[in-house]
């Protein structure tokens, strides 16, 4: 996956680091969460030495997830947290061309409305997961009427985030070939960028901020 000459830089190192920090903690949380959610998944605690340890891993991973989520929101809310009307609505109407054949899919910026929805779901429900999770960790120190609601809220967060993560993994790998390198090396092919983020590509080129692998950055900037 070494970048080739002419490839376009789409993410910086900090973005990639935060992505994987968030992704790995999120996957650990989902797996350990499943271990406590379904008796049929209780066995996931066995390699950790029992369900009690699984609970500890879940809780402390949650503490690592929180700062990753904080940085993720800080980095991406501008590009992925705000819908741009009306073009985003037009894109949603045709489901971005992902579900049926569409001749002209409305152009998107760096992130399309589907990705924005994923970002918002993770951001909003992620915050709720951290808050409800902390209360569930120390339930006896708070009124039981409040604590009671944290459990269904935590389960609702799982209901939203887990399936969304699966869609994200599918579309980030085999669903849209060439995407994964954006989050491993940071460089994508020009044709990928033209199809996935045409608006962003144009903007970057116009402003001369596009970084191309194998070319001096200054060259583009001065050009």
């Amino acid at each position: 996956m070494i970048p080739k000459k002419g490839m376009i830089k789409s993410t910086d190192a900090f973005e990639r680091l935060v992505h994987w920090w968030l992704a790995i903690t999120c996957i650990i949380l989902i797996l350990t969460g499943l271990g406590m959610m379904f008796h049929s998944f209780n066995f996931l605690g066995t390699p950790l030495g029992g369900l009690k340890n699984l609970k500890l891993v879940h809780n402390f991973t949650g503490l690592l997830f929180a700062p990753a989520l904080f940085f993720a929101i800080l980095i991406w809310w501008r590009e992925a947290g705000v819908f741009k009307m009306p073009e985003d609505l037009e894109w949603i109407k045709v489901a971005g061309g992902y579900l049926w054949h569409v001749d002209d899919v409305p152009e998107t910026g760096k992130y399309n409305p589907g990705q924005k929805a994923f970002f918002l779901a993770v951001a909003i429900f992620g915050i709720l997961m951290v808050a409800s999770g902390l209360i569930m960790w120390f339930p006896l120190s708070l009124p039981s009427g409040l604590v009671q609601w944290m459990y269904p809220l935590h389960a609702l967060g799982m209901l939203v985030i887990f399936p969304f993560v699966l869609v994200h993994i599918y579309l980030g790998t085999i669903g849209v070939p060439g995407s994964a390198r954006a989050i491993f090396t940071g460089y994508v092919t020009r044709s990928w960028a033209e199809k996935q983020c045409p608006g962003w590509l144009k903007e970057m080129e116009e402003e001369g901020r596009l970084e191309i692998y194998g070319e001096e950055k200054e060259e583009a900037a001065h050009g």
Partner: protein, 264 residues
């Protein structure tokens, strides 16, 4: 094996607390430091080492006289037990007698049963990091004995037997007592396996819910969101696979040099 019920008749209870002591003895529960709260009720509430407690309540009858109400407070052993529903490890389980028992080894101390219980029964022990509650003397009833509290009761306020027989006995006793007397337990949470014959209406008793039920939060959590998660995750996995086969991956390759080798 027939379901069993422990019947507690408040009209026959003298508040002697032989049951409370027998419970401590059989379950090897040490007494803790306590204090005088101005009542005979002692300790003041259920504890991780006090699984059952006689509540002492003074009730004025309106003529300046005070009547003493006793209530044996312990796990009600619900048929629709919210605690079993929420327990992540299967530590809380239903026995063949219909009672709710606890496998202490499996308990992970998550405390989820505490806020789920409509009767506020489970107690957390920070020393062992486990939950504790009455298990209807599973170790005794499984060997054909009656629970320790029933064995110790000198007045006949406590009895133990087959479910149908106990329910019939409770209703017969209520008929005999008349007035406000009522059977408490067979009409909610699927029927409890501890049944009360109350001499007063349920709302008269301290800490006794009038209409106990599995909390809505537990229903939303375990009956709605939990199966929906499985459905949604399974649907998305199947959907992605079908999408890949029918619609196919998005073509992100181009004819320019850098994108020439496009796919994965």
């Amino acid at each position: 094996m027939a379901e069993k019920i422990k019947l507690y008749d408040t009209s026959k209870c003298t508040g002697c607390r032989a049951c409370q002591l027998a419970c401590k003895q059989w379950n090897a529960l040490p007494a803790g430091q306590t204090y005088n709260a101005g009542t005979y009720q002692n300790p003041p509430d259920l504890q991780s080492n006090t699984w059952m407690l006689i509540r002492f309540q003074e009730m004025s009858n309106g003529n300046g006289d005070v009547k003493w109400l006793f209530r044996k407070d312990a796990c009600m052993h619900c048929t629709d037990a919210a605690c079993i529903k929420v327990c992540p490890s299967g530590a809380l389980f239903r026995t063949k007698y219909g009672s709710v028992a606890l496998d202490r080894d499996k308990c992970i101390g998550c405390k989820e049963c505490i806020s789920a219980c409509p009767f506020d029964v489970p107690r957390y022990d920070p020393v062992t990091d486990k939950i504790a509650k009455c298990d209807l003397c599973f170790s005794r009833i499984d060997r054909g004995m009656e629970p320790a509290c029933v064995k110790a009761c000198p007045t006949g306020a406590l009895s133990f037997g087959d479910k149908d027989e106990m329910i019939a006995r409770a209703h017969a006793r209520v008929k005999e007592l008349g007035g406000d007397a009522n059977v408490y337990g067979d009409q909610f949470v699927g029927g409890t396996h501890m049944l009360y014959v109350l001499t007063e209406k349920p709302d008269v008793y301290d800490e006794l819910p009038e209409r106990p039920r599995v909390p809505l939060t537990v229903i939303a959590w375990k009956d709605w969101f939990k199966p929906l998660t499985l459905l949604a995750a399974g649907g998305v996995l199947a959907g992605s696979f079908i999408h890949y086969l029918t619609h196919g991956p998005k073509d992100t390759s181009g004819d320019d040099q850098a994108g020439g080798e496009g796919g994965e």
